[in-house]
Amino acid sequence: MTNNFLIVSTVFCLLILATGSAADELTIEKNRQKWQKMSPEEKNRVIEIYRGWKAQPEEKKKMIRRNYETYHELSPQERDILRGRFRTYKQLKPSVKESIREKLQNTDRFTAGGHAEKGKRYRSLKDKSDEEKMNMIERSMFWKSLSNEEKEAFKQLMFVE
């Protein structure tokens, strides 16, 4: 009985390892093909990004790696929303972008995974109508801390097409 359980567990573990390894290999192979097709200019651009990457602290690298993993676990709809938001985000004025980012980070009221900090109450805006969302946002201190320009930018991010 114990032996059978161990054998089944082992096979399961081996499958996990094999799947993970195969997925990694597949990604690397795809990357290699992409890299080979790149023009020298594109390669130079990637190399520059890589240089910047290497200069970053380890924690930041881990965070980006984690974000990559999280993004690939999301549903296609959620991915679309985030991609749309990013398109808007890129077009914002750098000062506005930075301010919104900082206020979101520093207020310590929002968390990436939706886990509430002890003693605080959080409300997810997911599955709410636009009107409800706006109503809730306008009541928050975060909203009150934004300038008019930032409020407008935040709305664009919130209600991305």
Binding site: L6, T10, W35, V46, R65, F86, K90, A116, Y122, R123
Partner: protein, 181 residues
């Protein structure tokens, strides 16, 4: 020679392996003792009957099969001990690799040290590992997005703690539902 000693010597007597004087003493005893002589003749008859049987060689595959069965049993005994040990090792390795995966990748892919076996690209006098770039190309090409990912995702979460502090609603049930604190 008495009857007991004579009977113990029957087999050797038939084979002719007794020393000459012993052989002679047994013969003399048979001449004197009818009971022992009858016993001897009965054994001699059985012996001769056995001689009529042909020796049969066992088939070659029978020996092979028997030996194989023995080996299988030994292997099975060894496996019985080794399999659980191997299984535990594999499970432990999987847990280690699975949970250490993120950090492992970070170190392998993103650390500043380079693998000496990989192709190096020389740019502006500095060497860059091509393999490291290829391993992480999917992130490097989209680095700005993954960098802003937390901010973009946090937009979906709204804190109400401040509202409650402001309006002193801690002790009242809100019409809004809250995630557990």
């Amino acid at each position: 020679m008495n009857c007991d000693a004579a009977r113990k010597s029957f087999a050797s007597y038939i084979e002719g392996s007794l020393p000459d004087d012993q052989q002679r003493l047994v013969t003399e005893h048979f001449e004197r003792c009818k009971s022992c002589r009858d016993g001897y003749e009965s054994i001699l008859h059985a012996w001769k009957t056995l001689d009529l049987w042909e020796d049969v060689e066992p088939p070659v595959h029978m020996k092979k099969d028997a030996m194989q069965k023995l080996r299988d049993e030994r292997l099975s005994d060894r496996l019985h001990f080794l399999l659980p040990v191997a299984a535990v090792l594999v499970i432990a390795m999987t847990i280690f690799l699975f949970y250490g995966r993120e950090d492992h990748r970070s170190i392998r892919d993103m650390a500043s040290s380079t693998d000496s076996t990989t192709v190096k690209i020389k740019t502006a006098g500095k060497e860059i590992s091509e393999e490291e770039i290829i391993s992480n190309l999917q992130i490097l090409q989209d680095k700005d997005f993954y960098d802003a990912f937390d901010t973009l995702k946090k937009i979906d979460l709204l804190p109400l703690a401040d509202d409650f502090q402001e309006n002193h609603h801690y002790d009242k049930k809100s019409s809004l539902e809250f995630l557990p604190a």
